[in-house]
Symmetry: C2
Subunit: 141 residues, 2 copies
DNA sequence: TAGCATTGCATAGCTCACTATGTAATAGTA
DNA sequence: TACTATTACATAGTGAGCTATGCAATGCTA
């Protein structure tokens, strides 16, 4: 129970549950976070454009967007030029939680790294990026 | 998209998909791995005993065990002394994949850490353990 | 321009995590 | 001993990821 894989998985699960608890009052769930971050930056994207900004599969995003629509965080409008596509727009609700959500996320990041020195935290992020890079080219020639 | 939380989550998802692909030929899936590891160590545990060895919730384990039974990796027998409990036993199939599974997991761990030096890899695991420890006491006084 | 290929998105079905709750069986106690 | 509490496990329902597949609209080309 000390392998890298086990630790990574365990850490991710614990983290997502912390995030879930902290953002629950805002009426959002962890899976909606990446899409919200992107939409706070730029509203009115199509699903395809949004997808290009996120590291998830198209089907996962489609389902997440459906839940976000149900939760009244976004609306989807028909694309003016392409009837297959729809543009995605934040509701007032979706827009209004931006600052609190950002703050919550930053706060959690700070807290969980608090036992590492600045250098250690920096190294930790660097290692993760390198490991992610490595995993990505393991299963792609 | 460079926060610790995002990186951890991304890394975990990538890793689990690598594991999934590599162990598919053995007829198992990533969620079954921790339970298998424990049962390879000691067969015939009750669900409660197994649960104590794993970092998942009871309901998650119950569902995982049901899938493992369906996949003919384990069988469940009535407990000799307590009719509420059942003991969990590996099938021949479940037992036979042990070495290949171990090897696959170790191989992946090695590969994904291959771009880190020995010291870096060691530090990386250490940081993860510390972060995990920190997260655990964030939401418990 | 008719037909085929591609594209954008949705849906189905799976895993695997969670919380909440139900159901027996066992244990403890008035 | 008859209740009540606790325990062991199962089930229901949700989120969030995945692959595979479907469907309609668009684009390309013979």
């Amino acid at each position: 129970m000390n392998s890298a894989g086990y630790l990574v998985n365990n850490m991710a699960r614990l983290l997502v549950e912390v995030l879930r608890k902290r953002i629950a009052p805002l009426g959002i769930v962890p899976g909606q976070f990446p899409a919200l971050l992107a939409l706070w930056e730029k509203d009115g994207l199509t699903q395809k454009e949004l997808l290009a900004l996120l590291d998830i599969e198209q089907a996962t995003l489609a389902n997440t967007l459906t839940r976000m629509e149900r939760d009244e965080l976004i609306t989807r409008k028909e694309h003016p030029a392409d009837a297959r596509a729809r543009t995605i727009h934040l509701t007032d609700q979706g827009r209004s939680i931006r600052d609190s959500a950002y703050q919550t996320a930053m706060q959690i990041n700070e807290e969980v790294l608090a036992d590492l020195s600045e250098q250690e935290a920096h190294a930790f992020l660097d290692y993760m990026r390198r490991v992610i890079g490595k995993i990505k080219d393991i299963e792609s020639p």
